[in-house]
Amino acid sequence: MRHIISVLMENEPGALSRVVGLFSQRNYNIDTLTVAPTEDQSLSRLTLTTTGDERRIEQITKHLNKLVDVVKLVDLTEGAHIERELMLIKVKASGAQRAEVKRTTDIFRGQIVDLTNSVFSIQLTGTTDKLDAFIATLGESVVLEVARTGVSGISRGEKVLAL
């Protein structure tokens, strides 16, 4: 099963490599990874998605917690949560294609953030499935380049991941 794990860690050199290293060292997968400092500049929030059975995920969270740089973590998929991924996608758009791509973008609530005579650059936010669906709808033949941030997430309600 896919899990989204959010980690608060010291914003220090080497911290990220310890987290990433743990995954390769113990033969765990990372599907996506996103990291940036939080409102407290001494802390970074890292969110990753991984897959595994319950036992494996338990080991992953335990080993992450053991890292000295890791302050706190949460497996967002254990409860109600919101997840988002941002994608910038460059697609072919000329002639009749332009209206078609524009329409599809609107339906997916994306925005065209840059354009030339033959190309649209579109920004789209949503769940991983939604971004996948957008790419599939446009069709491989029009897609020129894809840049995705990986999943970020936050739990619903009053629960917070903070110090």
Binding site: P13, R55, K62, V68, L163
Partner: protein, 575 residues
């Protein structure tokens, strides 16, 4: 407040941390630090002959004393040579602080002379690491490093220091912190009372109970409490390779070491028990015999460990208890004392009768050779006799290690010093040096083989320089015995590169060339007398080269892929 340079601050901080010995080897990137060492007499530096030996010596010191071992190496090759020793300490959870020099900050990343990304290279084998950016950080980083290395599940910590950070011209106000707080590092302490209650209930209801104790009991200074608990309950107890000495081997409740080369009775008791109290162990594959689905099929498993990640890693625990062994054992004892339930003595008697039957098999019986050829096991038994079972015994890795573990009979914790997790050949001799430095009046024996010994024999020079009278007992079978044994058993006797074709050195002359004493023993009839001669030379390092039966195998031996009850008992007998 003193004004110190980074180099001076480092050595002062080590002294303030109570460090006695610093095992190291100088080089360009650490010269400022070495100058600071020259100008003081608080911390004694031990000059080894190879950085790997520095880490093993510090490791031996740590295992023997319970205090952290400290190492100083230069950048590049100095640092990479230390890696095997760091990995050895990491696998066995040994507290160690390794200080490595680094090229100047401005050169980092430029592929400078003797530059290695030590923090990166060591990352998977350290508990934590630091790169010092500024001399003023040194006191705090040293304090943190020792705190992390010695608390919780102990382990090695690396401090990488660029050369400019130790520059004698840059001084700062030195103050060593008295305590340190880290928001991201908390040490689990007391076990959960409710979980301990559950465990006690299981133990009281057990008909075939078993205690399985490991290195964590020794590391956590829990041997005394464990012994008390085991005696209180009257349960059979086994120790892992790392846990030998946690419970006295000479006690009748002790059923011997378990695992791949464990005793018949220990492995049988494990397999058939219905309640397993596992303390400070990690269900290593050399214990469980690789297929964990066949492990202790009838048992309710109670697992006590200070590291939450150790619990249910390979074998699922029915009652997990995270906490220090001493706190958990104390509470367990007090709960047992006040519990209404009592041990089921009738069932326990039946269980012990069964175990005694298994014990009668005498799986460690040694059949002497008629022609005077010495069996390796007999050497260990003779060393036990002559040292009255009270020596510090280090070992390398292979057959001799297993013979030492099986036949020495450790009654006290911290007396058996071996690389259990990583299985590092070349560990034993430098570790014995660290032990001898820590306990100058004790007998420090290294039981080794001619293969392992050659991996760090350069330390004969270190022992001469510091007058370390280590006794090296080499079980010389003219082959890489354990490799050869596996080749005998699984590869049709094809000894691919496990023998040396007449290339062995004359170890007697070798020892003598370093100024030590060498004694060779070839016949059983000389064994006791020549060993006595060796141990009588209290102030000298003696290399005892004992020619042993090259055909001997280590038994019992687990049958691969089987359960713990599945063992090969001799060249002709299986369970």
């Amino acid at each position: 407040m003193d004004q110190l340079s980074g180099g001076e601050a480092l050595i002062r901080a080590l002294h303030d941390e109570g460090v006695e010995f610093l095992f190291g080897y100088p080089g360009g990137a650490v010269l400022h630090i070495y100058d600071a060492i020259f100008n003081q007499d608080k911390v004694e530096h031990i000059l080894v002959r190879h950085e790997q030996a520095a880490t093993h010596a510090a490791d031996g010191y740590a295992r023997g004393t319970g205090k952290p071992g400290v190492v100083l190496v230069t950048s590049g090759p100095g640092a990479t040579n230390a890696i095997t020793g760091i990995a050895t300490a990491y696998m066995d959870s040994i507290p160690m602080v390794v200080i490595s020099g680094q090229v100047e900050s401005r050169l980092i990343g430029s592929d400078g002379f003797q530059e290695t990304d030590m923090v990166g290279v060591s990352r998977p084998i350290v508990k934590h690491s630091f790169m010092v950016q500024n001399p003023a950080e040194i006191p705090n980083i040293v304090k943190k490093a020792f705190h992390i290395a010695t608390t919780g599940r102990p382990g090695p910590v690396v401090i990488d220091i660029p050369k400019d950070v130790t520059d004698p011209k840059t001084k700062f106000d030195y103050k060593y912190p008295t305590e340190i707080k880290m928001r991201s590092y908390a040490v689990p302490s007391k076990g959960h009372s409710g979980q301990i209650k559950k465990a006690v209930d299981v133990l009281m209801a057990a008909k075939r109970p078993m205690i399985y104790a490991g290195g964590g009991v020794i590391q956590g200074e829990g041997s005394e409490l464990l012994t008390k608990l085991a005696r209180e309950l009257g349960f059979p107890i086994t120790n892992t390779l790392m846990g030998l000495g946690a419970y006295p081997a000479s006690d009748k409740q002790f059923v011997g070491m378990l695992g791949m080369h464990g005793t018949y009775e220990a492995n049988m008791s494990m397999h058939y028990c219905d309640a397993l109290l596992a303390i400070g162990v990690r269900f290593d594959d050399r214990v469980t015999n690789s297929d964990v689905t066949k492990f202790c099929p009838d048992a309710t498993i109670l697992h006590v460990d200070i590291d939450p990640a150790s619990i249910s890693k390979t074998v699922s625990a029915d009652v997990p208890i995270v906490g220090s062994v001493t706190s958990v054992l104390e509470e367990m004892l007090s709960q047992i004392a006040s519990s209404k339930e009592k041990v089921d003595q009738k069932s326990l008697k039946v269980w012990w009768d069964q175990i005694e039957q298994w014990r009668e098999k005498d799986s460690l019986a040694v059949t002497p050779c008629e022609d005077g050829t010495i069996k390796p096991q007999e050497v260990v038994q003779a060393v036990h006799k002559i040292t009255k079972g009270d020596a510090y015994v280090s070992s390398d890795v292979g057959q001799h290690q297993m013979f030492a573990a099986q036949y020495y009979g450790f009654d006290k914790p911290r007396r058996w010093i071996n690389s259990g997790g990583l299985g590092t050949m070349g560990f034993g001799f430098p570790a014995a040096m660290g032990i001898q430095l820590a306990f100058p009046d004790a007998v420090s024996v290294c039981i080794t083989g001619e293969g392992s010994f050659q991996m760090n024999l350069q330390e004969l020079a270190t022992c001469m320089q510091y007058k370390l009278p280590v006794k090296i007992i080499c079980l010389n079978n003219r082959a890489l015995g354990m490799v050869k044994q596996w080749q005998d058993m699984q590869y049709g006797g094809r000894h691919s590169h496990s023998t040396y074709e007449e290339s062995l050195p004359d170890f007697i002359k070798l020892a003598e060339s370093y100024g030590h004493v060498g004694i060779r023993i070839e016949n059983k009839s000389d064994l006791d007398s020549k060993l006595a001669e060796a141990f009588a030379l209290k102030d000298r390092l003696v290399f005892v080269d004992v020619l042993v039966d090259p055909e001997e195998h280590v038994y019992p031996m687990a049958i691969k892929g089987g359960a713990m009850k599945d063992m090969i008992l001799s060249k002709s007998e299986r369970t």
